[in-house]
Symmetry: C2
Subunit: 364 residues, 2 copies
């Protein structure tokens, strides 16, 4: 158990953007929201999964929608608070802890923006990264149900949904989000402490904080920030180049598109395409998929290591594309069935990103 | 207070299709549903508005979606029952009576299909006709709120919605309906008996029953059925001809399109276009709007007087187009603001359908 104040938040925001794999929402937005709440209500208590009692009641609180719209329409802290209250009113069971659904950017920070609730935040999430659908969480792999799901929007609409499957809940909730103007706040996956300990990805907020600190320190010491991140997470540097084209649209409740990167340095003569649906789904080098979900694919500014969300990548950026290994549960048959490349329409076999790194070394 | 059995239901189904103004869903579907339930649970008690106690609790139960899809996907009686139960569970206030939201076709019958609840049905509705949006009900004119709204679908999704306005509820619920496959069942506008007496259109199910009986009797006596209906409701015969073109699609949760009718007999040389969004919105004669919402526009088979829902009108049908006056509240400024031609994008002044009839007589 420890307290999260403004400094910790700063590192978590940067680090969770790396774990966000392009999505999860702009961390800057989340940071502003949470900082204001922490100033008002004091630092937020964060506890590890192992500190939960089996009888505790945990839920996720998360923004839903297209990050490209979130940049323009700031969610409000009061919406996160209201979503949790609405879920509690629905189940009649008091929630004792809240957790981020995903480690990505805004959504890693959202639980801290609900500081007014006075509930501790759990240092764990349901993905170990960010994903574009609410059923793509580790609880789904254990049969956990996301509903009853509480959803509120900026207009004052409040919805409680019960669905026969997490896929149905995603479909309905995504359409409500679209109708509301592409941004809603949700509280979902209410679970016991015992379930949380089994289902969630432990320590992910601390990992984000470590990544954020590492990035800041490398930069201060004029070390190669990208290399530092790749080594720390045992990942792979996939490509280096300059962004020469971006196609991006807010479609069906997501930010969808692709960025084309023309190789420089060792990658001169090659090009890489990053295809995203909020998060990066595949990295395609010269027409061949070289990395894919569920591993994390992230573009970082070449010089500074600053992670670039998919909704912000622009023509001219000099970037390094890195691949980082995902939580081991996503690499099981059940995990790949819902979060592997085929689940997103790419007919290729999943290959762990470390193997790509190992092979590159052999090639070299 | 009286009992509604299979015979009464038969007349209500036919008559409410006339009041449905092209929409409200296929009454045949509703009749099958309700007949089975009445066989199982016995005749349903129907009470007049004046028989309600002020403290009674009334709600509408209604199918939402595109009638063109309803023809293929039958709603189930259990969904109507569940929607009412879900609303009751949400408000914690027991519902004592149910009422149709609209007098049109399927939706006039839906309350009888919930016979398993053992609740009396109120002989009143919220439109005196059918309309394509859930906020277009007389309670809206009195500031009544449609939410909390309970919604269930065939897949087992259950939703409770609270909205700041009936327009927002329509937007959200319509999108959920789209996501569910274009048909859902709703329970909404929970109101007291006192409110129901002020807000609703009285006697509309009995009116539908009268129309159904009149049609059957005229047909049996080889009298002009269309004329009988027009005279009974003090409406106007707008056009006679043959359907020569129909464009129709299930779009955005509605059945949208238009039917073109080439004049015969006294209308030889002219043509009429009926534009519909579930219900007929305007009747356009030789390019000029001659009748519009909120009045009822209905196509009937020329020979038999059989009302033809907009989702079933087809090339070759010989039809009479009739206009029938709407409930007086729709003709107020507030009524026309939400249900007049401009509310549906037609920049014309509303003219009561009786005036058209009167003018036609002058012309002749």
């Amino acid at each position: 158990m420890r307290l999260i104040g403004e400094d910790e938040l700063e590192n978590i925001a940067v680090g969770s953007t790396i774990l966000g794999a392009g999505g999860g929402g702009d961390p800057y937005v989340g940071k502003l929201l949470a900082r204001q709440q922490i100033r008002e209500h004091g630092p937020v208590t964060m506890v590890g999964l192992d500190e939960l009692a089996d009888s505790d009641q945990v839920c996720f609180v998360a923004g839903m929608g297209a990050p490209g719209v979130l940049v323009e329409k700031l969610p409000r802290a009061s919406e996160a608070v209201r979503a949790v209250q609405l879920l509690q009113e629905t189940t009649g069971v008091a929630i004792t802890h809240i957790a981020p659904a995903e480690a990505g950017g805004l959504n890693a920070i959202v639980p801290f923006s609900a500081a007014a609730l006075g509930l501790p935040v759990v240092d764990a999430d349901g993905m170990g990264r960010a994903f574009p659908s609410l059923e793509l969480v580790t609880p789904t792999l254990y049969g956990g149900l996301c509903t009853p799901l509480a959803m509120v929007d900026e207009h004052g609409n409040e919805m409680v949904l019960r669905s026969p499957s997490n896929q149905w809940a995603e479909t309905i909730a995504r359409n409500v989000t679209l109708a509301s103007g592409c941004v809603t706040m949700t509280a979902l996956y209410q679970m016991t402490g015992a379930q949380a300990k089994q289902w969630l990805v432990p320590g992910v907020l601390t990992q984000a904080e470590d990544l954020g600190r590492l990035l800041r320190e490398s930069r201060a010491a004029h070390r190669d920030s990208v290399e530092a991140i790749v080594n720390h997470r045992r990942g792979a540097l996939l490509f280096t180049g300059r962004v020469t084209a971006v196609r991006r649209a807010n479609e069906r409740g997501w930010t969808i598109g692709e960025a084309t990167i023309t190789g420089t340095g060792p990658d001169q003569g090659s090009s890489m395409e990053l295809r995203f649906q909020n998060e990066h789904l595949v990295a395609v080098r010269d027409g061949v998929v070289v990395a894919s979900v569920p591993d994390l694919i992230m573009a970082m500014e070449h010089e500074t290591g600053e992670p670039i969300p998919a909704e912000e990548i622009r023509y001219g950026y000099r970037v390094s594309v890195v691949g980082l290994p995902c939580d081991h549960r996503w690499r099981t048959e059940a995990g790949l069935a819902i979060a592997g490349p085929r689940a997103f329409g790419y007919d290729v076999d999943y290959r762990p990103v470390e193997e790509i790194a190992a092979r590159s070394e052999v090639d070299a």
